[in-house]
């Protein structure tokens, strides 16, 4: 698995080279493709199954040449031309999947409100269907508005909690069978013109296109997902582009390149010659100047792989990193993350750790699966009045869906992506 | 041979001065065939300044000799300074002639004589002579001297001499042939020493007299080497009569043949005129090379390698007397080492030069450098110089320098040394290359007194730590000067 991920990096590197090269003529795409093809030739190509939810609530997204249509069309086309797969299957999904062939252009052209007439489907059910059709060699792409529909007269809170539990179970069962499964959720927006159904199926009409969130879920083997993300980074999405994304990975426990840097720092320390990158001692706080009484040191991290897999937003979020000292959670050090601009080193990100109380021992910085804040932010807890509490930009119950999946992943403890260990001594 | 002694009778002023020269030579460490010298000055004139000087000198010598390590290859002692012991009988140098009679006619008891004897006395001695105050020497009258000097066998020192005498000991007599005490005393003394069964004043036989009779005996007769200036007081001493008196004495000495083993003569025609003082404190004649040469005759007498030449006996009877005279290679008025014959050079150059270097160091350098040099560290500090033996050593060194200076200022100058320099190595005149060739590394680095300090620092670790500081001091300086000054003919 590690090798494939390294191949991703290599390809990424080559791709970025290709883009920045001024000597290349316009036809650099073909040569890129051939390189990509060469890389993937050693592995069996997965099948990509695309499921577009066609319940009634989706009609508003496909009313006219919407961003939704543009984004989906572009994404599927990119998948096809990336060479990652030889087989792309298209489906509508509701209470069951309906095969729609493999012609993306045709599929998109035919994607109209009149195709979205079915009753609102239960999103966890849809998820279940999709998961059952996903395995090591099949990538599933699910396009959905992600809204829960409990119906009238139901206890919404209870309903959502039960849904979450259900999803958790489904996901866990799937993970037990296919432990290397990764899940991406992209959140995009598109103009929505049509009927909005709230949690009690009450309607709200949007006569004019209203920007509303929708989601593209991608589920598959982590290596395939990695390749997919390598070839199609967030920036390639059209139709408004990716607003947020969240990737759930299996516990990779990757080893990356990292080290304690010389600067910036407040105060001083000496390096242990036996492990100069990670072990320091004789730590002293700054004795004068603006930062008197503080100790700050900087860690350089090569997160280039995780930039691909998890995205920059995730990596620059301090919540993504757990800190332990001597195996105990410890927040003595205040952390900040920024990009590394030193051309002489290979690190992509720097983490600054500041404290006025020097804690010593074995410091572990763990990059792991952490539920992102943006899903909480985009979650509509009530789901009744679309115009209240900025609900127009939110999705009812999306949190419960995502949390269910999250809990399945972190069932046996947080899924650890990489651990960086340091030794601090007085 | 086991410890044997040489008893030296130095008669009169010359005796004192030759003994002084001998002491200087022994202090500097010349080779001496006996372990111990016992000097006895015979003089009527107790307040003679020469005598006083000599006595002080010998006392200083003895004090230093007590702490000086004796040359001993087994113990690793190289020191030769003050190697020979000097003893004083009854702690006295002067065999004082017991006599309290003041005038000569009283002494011979003219008043108690018969008138016939009185007439005889009047014929023999002049009126002035009869009226002579005898506490001031015999003012150049050997005829009187002989009468008086007959009394010395009664003295305590003489008895001590007899008691002390052992088989193998030897006797030497120093006297001058001119002037008073010496000329007459010498043959008298010799006669007394060889008369068997000599008795003392109480009529008791003198101890060991048989050994004394048989002992090897040598003598030196010092012929004129100075004139006396015109008289300034009523003095009967007259230079012009020196030669006449010498002739008279010499003919008498002819009868000494076969009574002595070896008889040495020395004289100098190139004379200095001394101030005329008839005796007392002011008869302080400056040192002369002749006295040094006379001292060398003593060393010649006891030289074990010259025994065959000097002594010819059969069954304790003297078969023939060896006669020796001192000479230098050319008649120069300024004698340097180059003018001495090989034998003299060998005997004198190294000891005198080393001792002078030692003295010069003490004079010019020691006080300043002892604070810094390792050889002196915690050993030779401020208190060291206050020690009795060291004070006496320095006094003796001062006397040594004066002795050299005096000899330099005579008409017949003995000036092998440049006495006015205060450099370390240019104090020897002439083209004799004395200084040992230093190692090239030493030569580059160390100049002048620094070279001496370097040598002292080098030698200190080779000296025996068990020695007391004063002894070690001498051993150290001998080793250092020996290392720096090593004349090889």
């Amino acid at each position: 698995m590690r090798n494939i991920l390294i191949y991703c990096l290599a390809v990424l590197f080559l791709a970025s080279c290709g883009n920045s090269s001024t000597q290349r003529k316009g036809g650099n795409k073909p040569s890129e493709n051939s390189e990509m093809t060469a890389v993937t030739a050693s592995k069996i190509k997965p099948v990509v199954n695309v499921y577009v939810e066609n319940s009634g609530s989706m009609a508003g997204y496909v009313n006219g040449n919407t961003d939704f249509k543009k984004a989906v069309y572009n994404y599927l086309t990119d998948i096809k031309i990336s060479g990652i797969t030889d087989t792309l299957n298209l489906f509508y999904i509701n209470d069951k999947p309906v095969a729609k062939g493999s012609d993306v252009k045709d599929f998109i052209e035919k994607l109209n409100p009149n195709q979205c007439v079915f009753a609102t489907s239960d999103i966890s059910n849809v998820f279940d269907l999709v998961l059952k059709r996903t395995d090591n060699n099949q990538i599933s792409v699910l396009v959905t508005d992600g809204i829960f529909s409990p119906g009238k007269g139901k206890d919404a809170q209870q309903y959502l909690v039960n849904q979450q539990i259900g999803i958790k179970r489904i996901m866990k069962e799937h993970l037990d069978k296919y432990p290397n499964t990764a899940v991406i959720v992209y959140q995009l927006t598109s103009g929505f013109k049509g009927t909005y159904y709230n949690r009690e199926d009450a309607k709200t009409e949007f006569k004019e296109p209203q920007a509303r969130p929708y989601y593209i879920w991608v589920i598959g083997d982590v290596e395939d997902i990695a390749l997919l993300k390598t070839y199609i980074p967030d920036s390639k999405f059209k139709g408004g582009g990716v607003q947020h994304s969240y990737t759930l990975l299996p516990p990779l426990n990757m080893e990356i390149d990292y080290a304690i840097l010389n600067s910036p720092k407040f105060g001083s320390f000496e390096r242990d010659k036996k492990s100069t990158k990670t072990s320091i001692y004789n730590i002293k706080k700054a004795s004068n100047g603006a930062h008197k009484g503080n100790f700050m040191f900087t860690i350089g991290m090569d997160l280039s792989l995780f930039t691909v897999l998890l995205g920059d937003e995730y990596l620059t979020n301090t919540e993504s990193y757990a800190r332990l000292i001597n195996k105990q959670p410890n927040n003595d050090y205040f952390i900040e993350i920024e990009h590394n601009t030193n051309p002489n080193t290979n690190y992509t990100h720097n983490m600054k750790l500041t404290t006025d109380k020097i804690s010593v021992g074995e410091l572990e910085i763990i990059l792991r699966n952490q539920f992102p804040q943006w899903i909480y932010d985009i979650n509509d807890e009530e789901g009744l009045d679309i115009y209240k509490n900025d609900a127009i930009n939110k999705t009812f119950g999306i949190k419960y869906l995502a949390e269910g999946i999250y809990e399945a992943y972190n069932f046996s403890g947080n899924s650890i992506y990489t651990t960086m260990k340091f030794n601090l001594k007085k | 041979m086991a410890s044997n002694k040489l008893y030296i009778f130095g008669i009169g002023g010359t005796g004192s001065r030759v003994l002084k020269s001998l002491t200087m030579l022994l202090a500097s460490g010349v080779e001496c065939g006996v372990d111990t010298i016992v000097p006895i000055v015979i003089d009527r004139d107790m307040s003679n300044h020469d005598l006083t000087r000599t006595k002080t000198l010998i006392e200083n010598y003895i004090a230093v000799n007590n702490i000086a390590p004796k040359e001993d290859s087994q113990k690793g002692y190289k020191n030769r300074f003050f190697n020979t012991q000097i003893e004083l009988l009854n702690n006295e140098l002067c065999l004082q002639l017991k006599d309290n009679t003041q005038k000569f006619n009283e002494f011979i008891g003219k008043d108690t004589m018969s008138s016939e004897n009185k007439a005889l006395v009047d014929i023999l001695f002049s009126k002035e002579t009869l009226e002579l105050d005898m506490t001031e020497g015999f003012q150049g009258n050997p005829n009187i001297g002989s009468v008086v000097l007959n009394q010395f066998d009664d003295s305590d020192i003489f008895k001590a001499f007899a008691n002390d005498f052992k088989d193998g000991d030897r006797i030497f007599i120093i006297s001058s042939i001119f002037g008073g005490t010496g000329a007459s005393g010498f043959p008298l003394l010799r006669k007394v020493l060889q008369t068997p069964n000599q008795k003392d004043a109480d009529g008791q036989p003198l101890a060991n007299w048989g050994l004394v009779n048989k002992a090897p005996i040598g003598a030196i007769s010092v012929l004129p080497y100075f004139n006396v200036g015109a008289a300034t007081d009523n003095s009967l001493v007259n230079s012009d009569t020196f030669i006449d008196k010498s002739k008279a004495a010499l003919s008498y000495y002819k009868t000494e043949d076969k009574k002595l083993d070896t008889l040495y003569y020395i004289a100098d025609t190139n004379t200095t005129t001394y101030e005329h003082h008839k005796g007392g404190d002011e008869q302080k004649n400056n040192a002369h090379f002749v006295e040094l040469a006379a001292a060398m005759s003593i060393l010649d007498f006891v030289n074990p390698q010259l025994q065959q030449k000097n002594i010819h006996r059969k069954d304790d009877k003297i078969e023939s007397t060896t006669y020796k005279e001192f000479g230098i290679s050319a008649n120069v008025s300024e004698i340097g080492f180059a003018n001495l014959e090989d034998e003299s050079q060998k005997m004198l150059i190294n000891p005198l030069s080393r001792f002078l270097l030692f003295r010069n160091y003490m004079q010019f350098v020691f006080e300043k450098e002892r604070k810094y040099q390792p050889y002196a560290h915690r050993r030779f500090n401020e208190d060291f110089r206050k020690k009795n033996s060291i004070k006496k050593l320095e006094s003796l060194q001062s006397s040594f320098f004066t002795w050299l200076r005096e000899m330099e200022n005579q008409n017949r100058r003995f000036s092998p040394f440049n006495l006015s320099t205060n450099n370390a190595f240019d104090f020897v005149k002439g083209d004799i290359s004395l200084i040992t060739k230093p190692k090239w590394s030493d030569n580059i680095r160390y100049k002048n007194w620094a070279r001496v300090d370097n040598e002292l620092n080098r030698q200190i670790s080779k000296t025996d730590k068990a020695l007391g500081n004063e002894s070690r001091f001498l051993e150290l300086f001998y080793r250092a000067t020996e290392s720096l000054i090593n004349f090889k003919s």
């Binding site: 010389n262 320390f269 002489n344 080193t345 | 810094y372 620092n457």
Partner: protein, 145 residues
């Protein structure tokens, strides 16, 4: 050597210390020349050589006073100061110091020169105490014991 200088690092700062240990930001390790070692060994050799010269090669009875020993010490200090300061300063001017090492100026280089002076004094005094015993003429210089 390095630990001794590090102990004095308050004089020249831990940043310069990193450079002197041979820090290279490219490798993220101490792979450059260990200047502590180079300067330290040189200073050690110079100090010992001067000491040996004073006690055994010059070994002079007129140079065994304390003041003269001090001359040798001062020469050693000047040479070693220039060595330490010079190397640092030339690195500074030539831009040989890793860009991730901050806050190094003339002051730090001078501080290191000073640190080397202190180290040299200790070496020279210590060496003197040990080797002076075999010196013929300077055994008690400058200490009277």
């Amino acid at each position: 050597m390095e630990t001794i200088y590090r102990w004095l690092s308050s004089l020249f700062g831990s940043n310069l210390a990193e450079h002197l240990s041979g820090w290279s930001e490219v490798t993220g390790d101490y792979t450059e020349a260990n200047l502590f070692f180079i300067i330290g060994m040189s200073s050690l050799i110079i100090s010992i050589a001067a000491c040996v010269t004073y006690y055994y090669i010059l070994n002079h009875p007129r140079w065994n006073r304390g003041f003269k020993w001090l001359i040798f010490l001062v020469i050693v200090l000047i040479v070693n100061f220039l060595l330490a300061f010079g190397i640092c300063y030339s690195d500074l001017l030539a831009g040989n110091i890793s860009s991730d090492i901050s806050a190094i100026s003339v002051a730090e280089c001078l501080g290191f020169g000073l640190a080397n002076i202190i180290v040299s004094i200790v070496i020279f005094v210590f060496c003197s105490l040990i080797i002076k015993w075999g010196s013929r003429n300077c055994k008690f210089s400058p200490f009277k014991f």
